[in-house]
Symmetry: C2
Subunit: 168 residues, 2 copies
């Protein structure tokens, strides 16, 4: 099973509160191990992700770093491939990513040109403007990490209504 | 090519401004024909989507409706299947949706129980809490609508940096 970390750039309060939350939740649900974010430190964001992990399970973690350069350089040293999601990149379905340690970078507003250079892969989903949340979901979907979550809450899939198991 | 409309429920200003924008842009980029939204009318949202369509191309449109019931009932009469994205539903990859006219419903906060009843399919991506933006992207990815966009701007996919064609 590949090890996947997500690096979210330039988080801004309040503007990115909900989109960064979506990025973090997609990272977790689609099998990443952690999210690291730069920009403004946001204790509310960290708290809500940590609470969700406690309820829904998994080993997912969230942490803050001031410098994206430092994160990229450390993860390169640890043998991670750097995959930058950008609408300018090469289509995800023509990019073969077979590495077993991957750092996925998703920006918010304008991404520094340096990130395109530091990345091993600049990967696009559709080459059209849409959403870093959707782009991350599609990339992780293609990497196809099957993770199980053993939390206090568990959904029983249902064609109608809501069925949820609560463990005491 | 299937006809796909997206119905976004309960848009709230300012809370959902960015997430509804992401929903709309994902709808367009992944091949839907239009987005209809309920909740608070948002002329800024409509303007930004319309401007983006002018720049980047395609026939995509955005419109507001007060009542989700009215939209669902009208689209049912027009022969559309109603697909409601919810983490409580049946996994997208075990749901066979072969219809050629589809109304996809994505909620924001709490979705009325009625929507689960009105839907022909309640479909989940991962049965874990994450993002309606990601769920919509994965569903539309599975429906695999190939659409081309002939706008003023066009990206040339690139492994480094940004290459963009501008038509005069």
């Amino acid at each position: 099973m590949p090890k996947i970390s997500v690096l979210r750039l330039s988080h801004r309060i309040p503007r990115d509160e909900r989109t960064t939350t979506h990025v973090a939740l997609v990272a977790r649900a689609f099998g990443a191990d952690e999210i690291i974010y730069t920009g403004q430190r946001d204790s509310g964001l960290e708290k809500s992700i940590n609470e969700l992990v406690t309820l829904w399970g998994g080993e997912f973690s969230i942490s803050y770093e001031k410098s994206f350069r430092k994160v990229i350089s450390e993860y390169k040293k640890k043998g991670y491939s750097i995959v930058h999601m950008t609408m300018y990149g090469v289509d995800v379905d023509s990019t073969k990513i077979s590495e077993d340690k991957i750092l996925v970078i998703v920006g918010s507003e304008k991404v520094p040109a340096e990130v395109f250079e530091l990345a091993d892969y600049n990967v696009a989903v559709k080459n059209q403007p849409h959403s870093e949340i959707a782009a991350l979901a599609i990339l992780l979907d293609r990497l196809d990490v099957k993770r199980t979550f053993d939390g206090k809450l568990k959904i029983i899939p249902s064609s109608r209504g809501k069925k949820i198991l609560k463990k005491e």
